[in-house]
């Protein structure tokens, strides 16, 4: 393997992909990805956060050499995506959204096959090691179809990691897992960072992106709407958010404007973004009382990535999926 000089393991500019689907209603085009730039540093966990249909999978598939971008360039592990796809593939582990665990063969046979394809010196040992690492030794000889969703996920990741790739793609790794399995998988992904493996993962869970990623980008409708570390992104929106349920949200918003960096009305909910929630709260309550505005409930939270999404797109990430 060529010695890498760049500190970045992925560098992509202007990636685009438009799909054309033919149906009875005629041809339809979907601009799945419209000009995405992205950079992932070596050894970092980089997240792609976005609602359903945002273009996360399409972006990952392009970077994994599965589909050719319509436009844009990318360098992955020092190799050009278009000119040297074979070199790029050698440096990748790829775990798709579907997982890719076969039904009829055992986990061990599938991991071993991957180790052989990557021409590992000792496929059997590499297989045993990765199975052990993911606590799969007990299950390793059962056919894939008999495994639970969480076990299958672990097998899928073990297959993707058996050749110790410097870069791992994880497309929605924790979708469908219970909270305990999710937390467990997060720990394993963090261990990868300690081992120096770079990870590009996609997710539509805010807490996941927040807890796991060193840096992330938020995508919506095929474009990047924000990028940075989770804390910087949240700081950019505001320190704290006060959520109020009031009788006349519009008038209340007008009243509170001088106290807030930003206000946002969402049906009967009013969100007030402030730098320092604890100290703004008394003044805010006083202002509402002076105007005689009835208050039903009030909550103070640190702003989340959802507030970032809301500020950038005007929609909440929780509702965005349903709209697509």
């Amino acid at each position: 393997m060529k010695e890498l000089t760049s500190p970045m393991i992925i560098q992509a500019q202007g990636l685009r992909k438009t799909f054309t689907t033919r149906s009875r209603k005629g041809a339809q085009t979907v601009e799945a990805v419209r000009g995405v730039d992205l950079g992932v540093a070596k050894g970092e966990i980089f997240g792609v956060l976005g609602p359903n249909g945002a273009g996360k999978t399409t972006t990952i598939r392009m970077l994994a050499t599965l589909i050719a971008p319509d436009a844009g360039t990318a360098t992955i592990a020092g190799h050009d995506l278009r000119k040297e796809p074979a070199q790029v593939r050698r440096n990748l582990g790829y775990v798709s959204q579907a997982g890719g665990v076969e039904d009829t063969t055992s986990a061990r046979a599938q991991v071993m096959m991957a180790a052989r394809i990557f021409a590992m010196a000792d496929p059997a040992r590499a297989t045993a090691e990765v199975l052990d690492r993911f606590e799969l030794t007990e299950l390793a000889d059962r056919p894939g179809r008999t495994l639970s969703g969480g076990q299958k996920r672990r097998v899928a990741i073990a297959i993707g990691l058996v050749h110790n790739p410097p870069l791992l793609f994880l497309d929605e790794p924790t979708t469908g897992l219970d909270p305990q399995n999710r937390a467990n998988l997060w720990d394993r992904i963090r261990q990868l960072r300690e081992a120096g493996t770079s990870v590009l993962l996609s997710t539509h869970y805010l807490d996941e992106a927040d807890a796991l990623c060193d840096r992330l980008m938020i995508v919506d409708h095929g474009t990047v709407v924000a990028e940075g570390t989770p804390s910087a992104l949240k700081r950019e929106v505001s320190g704290d958010v006060i959520t109020l349920r009031v009788s006349e949200p519009e008038r209340a918003a007008e009243t509170l404007k001088p106290l807030a960096r930003e206000t946002r009305v969402d049906d009967d909910l009013l969100r007030v973004y402030v730098d320092d929630g604890e100290h703004t709260l008394p003044a805010l309550l006083r202002a509402l009382e002076e105007r005689g505005l009835g208050l039903t409930s009030i909550a103070l939270d640190r702003s989340t990535l959802d507030d970032v999404f809301l500020a950038k797109t005007g929609r909440s990430l929780r509702d965005a999926g349903a709209a697509v």
């Binding site: 050698r90 665990v101 063969t105 599938q110």
Partner: protein, 249 residues
Amino acid sequence: MIRHTALFTGYELKKSFSNPIWPLFGLMQPVLYLLMFAPLLKSLTPGGTTVDALRMFTPASMMMIAVFGSLFSGFGLIAELRNGSLERYAVSPAWRPAIVLGRVAKDMVVLVVQAVLVLIGAAAMGVRIGAVELVLVLLLMAATGLFASGLSQGLALTVRDENGMSQTLNLFLLPIMLLAGLFVPISFAPDWMKFLAPVNPLYHAVEAGRALFDGRLGDPSIPIAFGVFVVLAVLTTMWSMRSLGKIAG
């Protein structure tokens, strides 16, 4: 390239034989054909003996196995398209055609085992065939199977759906079977069938197979059948390899 093809062939074979019941069924099928159809056909054959009936039916059943057995193997590929494992292999450094060639090669291995079983069965029932003829029959069967397997993989990657795939196969299977003269030589058939039969590639394979079992090495049907099937097998195999480009949709 060769290493990867061998790797996938081995993997597919192991997968097929990991549950020995299904391949056993597959292997039993040709022998059952012989046992069940030969007595039935005896009454239809001009000479009237079981050996005559077998000499006519054995080559036909071999070609039938070659087509039937391999045409359905593409279903496995659809399952792997769906569970994402095909995508995973496409992102690996594996030589891409090996993914398909491994399956085709596995089908060939299964076919050869089946063919040997049929020939042993036929021999036990009194059919004799020369060494040259034997080799040619096996080669012809392999070419027929290669054509069917390549067609099946290509179809699977194009249709990408079990339902659509079985509809498409059913549409083609009946006329192909009927117009091949599997049970009764086409020379006994009505004129319109005689006229249409040469359009059907399987017809040539069956005719050539019968000529070989009769020891008529100079029969023109033999070079015709080989010509037709070598070309078709190359075309369908190339098509299936190219269809791999459509993995990601």
